[in-house]
């Protein structure tokens, strides 16, 4: 009987974490480690004076983020991932990645990851930008929103928790929603030749 209660308690705990509506919650603590250098000179919006790397050469040697994986608990939170999918559209990520199928940018719903599929690696990719056109959003998107975007991007290939992943959207039925995507175990792949 005791085990039943324990299992029940754990299930209940998971469910209420999924349903947390965290409006003013602080994002995972990994963002200090992720500063690294800005790799892409592309910056959304006009160039402001306080962009450190304005105009200087492209440093390709920027580190790709610390190696120990960071757990992004937004991936168990339904509200955070639905915010992530809203931001994915608002910040025009769909312009290059479309709804995960790729276009100018690489597809995000398949299992091939060029710059790593761990949450902090995706965070670094968004923060620092990547060659071939991925702009650096540091200073443009607050960290909490970047982590929400990272959680949503991971849910596109089924890496986030299925019960918390966003369901069907009120748009044209292009692809399966994230909650019904099969988990694609991530594989690293080489940098594609710039088109």
């Amino acid at each position: 009987m005791k085990h039943a209660v324990l299992i029940l308690a754990s299930v209940l705990l998971v469910s209420c974490k999924r349903e947390e509506r965290g409006f003013r919650v602080s994002p995972p603590s990994a963002n200090e480690a992720m500063q690294g250098l800005r790799i892409s000179t592309l910056i959304p919006g006009p160039h402001g004076t306080n962009d450190p790397s304005k105009g200087n050469a492209l440093e390709l040697t920027g580190d790709r983020g610390t190696n120990q994986p960071v757990h992004n608990d937004y991936e168990e939170n339904a509200y955070a991932m639905s915010e992530g999918s809203r931001l994915f559209e608002n910040f025009n990520c769909v312009g290059c990645h479309s709804h995960g199928g790729g276009g100018m940018g690489p597809p995000l719903m398949d299992d091939k990851w060029i710059y790593g599929s761990n949450p902090e690696q995706i965070f670094a990719t968004i923060e620092q930008g990547r060659p071939n056109g991925m702009p650096s959003f540091r200073g443009r998107i607050p960290d909490a929103q970047v982590w929400q975007l990272a959680a949503y991007v991971r849910s596109m290939s089924g890496l986030a928790s299925k019960s918390a992943a966003p369901g069907r959207e009120d748009h044209l039925s292009g692809k399966k929603p994230e909650s019904s995507t099969k988990t694609q175990s991530p594989k690293d792949s080489a940098t594609p030749k710039p088109r």
């Binding site: 339904a78 991932m81 069907r168 039925s173 929603p177 019904s180």
Partner: protein, 661 residues
Amino acid sequence: MTRTSHLQIRDFKGDIPRADAEQLERVWSRPKGLLGWLVTTNHKDIGKRYIVTAFIFFLCGGLLAALMRLQLMKPENSFLGPDLYNQFFTVHGTTMMFLFAVPIMEGMGIYLVPLMLGTRNVPFPRMNTFGYYIYLLGGILLFVSLFLNVGPDAGWFAYVPLSGPHYSPGKRVDIWSQMITLTEIAALVGAVEIITAVFKHRAVGMSLNRIPMFVWAQVVTSFMVIFAMPSIMLASGVLAMDRLAHVNTHFFNPAEGGDALLYQHLFWFFGHPEVYIIFIPATGFVSTIVETFSRRKMFGYLGLVLSLVSTAFIGFGLWVHHMFATPVAELGQGFFTGASMLIAIPSGIQIFCWLTTLLTGKPQLKTPLLWVLGFIALFVLGGLTGIMLASVSLDLQVHDTFFVVAHFHYVLIGGAVFPLFGAFYYWFPKWTGRMLSEGLGKLNFWLFFIGFNLTFFPMHILGLHGMTRRIYTYVVESGWGNLNLLATIGAGVMALSVIVFLTNVFVSRKSGVIAGANPWGAPTLEWGTASPPPPYGFLYLPTVQSRDPLWSDKDSPVIVGLSNTKREVLNTTILDAMPEHRYELAIDSIWPFALALAAGGSFIGAVFNAWAIPIGAALSFLVLSLWFWRGNEPKFLLEGIQHTPSSPSHPSKRVLEETPA
């Protein structure tokens, strides 16, 4: 098969064989202990459980309402955040409509209709038990999810696309839609029971024009349930399919041809009959109480029955008055305005008939009648604001504002909860054998009446001053602070009055005045048996020669010859209730409880995974086959449990301690 319908009651002659009360008690009572509690199919046990469980949900809903009122007490209050407030008002609305109002009215019907018809149980006893457990499961699901911060937060009618998969992440609305499915199954089960009982199990001689008003109200409500509930089950089921992973249908996706207005049509086609499903049984309580306490036959019996039936029919034709602000065609709106005003006529006839009965009789102002007078005062005000809402132009100004909140609380609390309290005071002696105290009763009434008006009358003014519904707070500049403070104080007074009622119940259960079989001198059959009634109901099944048997039937014969080794009742013809054939009822069985777990479990599983439906269905069918295969073997239960009839113990032991464990 001898055709007996042409015979008149007077033609039957014979002497009375000595009825064996102990044998009847042994055949009809349930096994002892927890298993007995689980397997019982006695309509009095299930009816009492429905009433007690629904009243507990009423208290929970009332608590949520009190918390909401605390949040709205002053502008820009930070007692509740928006997320919690949205969950509270949704669960408050859902609890009051689906877990309190409909079940308690059906619970009263399940307890009282068989007694008023002069029979021993409902026609399908095990299905009745199943209905209660499915309802209980739905209620537990809703409140456990509220405590886990998974409470539904899209409003009690969960309009799409806010409740859709895109704008309601997580499992909150899924839990709402599965809970709807569970409670609606219970309502449908109750409705089928009551309709079949009234058609087939009426006392000999109770032709259509001798059916008591309470039973008329219950059977009309049951027909409305039969036609209204499928609409909400379809709307919530299809919404769940839209939201569920691996299903992802597009019923309400505007981009793929879906339509948010279709959801509103489907919901309100159920929604408006639902509020009449709550109100019409209350008219049954009022008719019964008015007839008993004005000491005269009901005035305009035919008028009342016809207005019940016409309310039911028109009730299905006016759902679009909830959607006057949506882009629905103007001609359609005109039709529904007409229908919405038309339905005021039958309600008006009922009010006039009750007032005439009271004013031409010798009214005795006991507590039940006090509640009925409160009902007339408040329901008429709610009805008149309803006529205002029926007009499209006025509705455009007051739709979705606190004016509407005031309107439907006047017609639901004024129209249904007041008669319900009156009914508690009226039938409590029958349930427990003891009278509720008149002093506490009057205090309870006046506190509730004053608190109610303090709370909800200012909301009319707030609504006209632009305060919209379902806002968790309002800006200081709006100027709504004073009236909201007044409303919160009123809510406190109402809470106090409910506490007075609870003390009255718990005190009187043990030490109330002993009530005999008929403390109020009432005319209907349920007052012909002991209080609390034994498990078999009547020693001899009664017959009826007039509309008020206990008042005007002098020596109507009784029914003998039913077997006393089996649970047998008498089936009678539909029109003039002549004896037709004997009908053996099923005995207590564990399978209804098992099926409730299987079916309920499959619906709750469907919140998380679509495969729970086929697997759950297979499991439920397996349990159903066992129910069919083993259910009606008398040997199974009678041998298994040492069968000692529960002694006809002191009346006070029976009622409220059987609250669910």
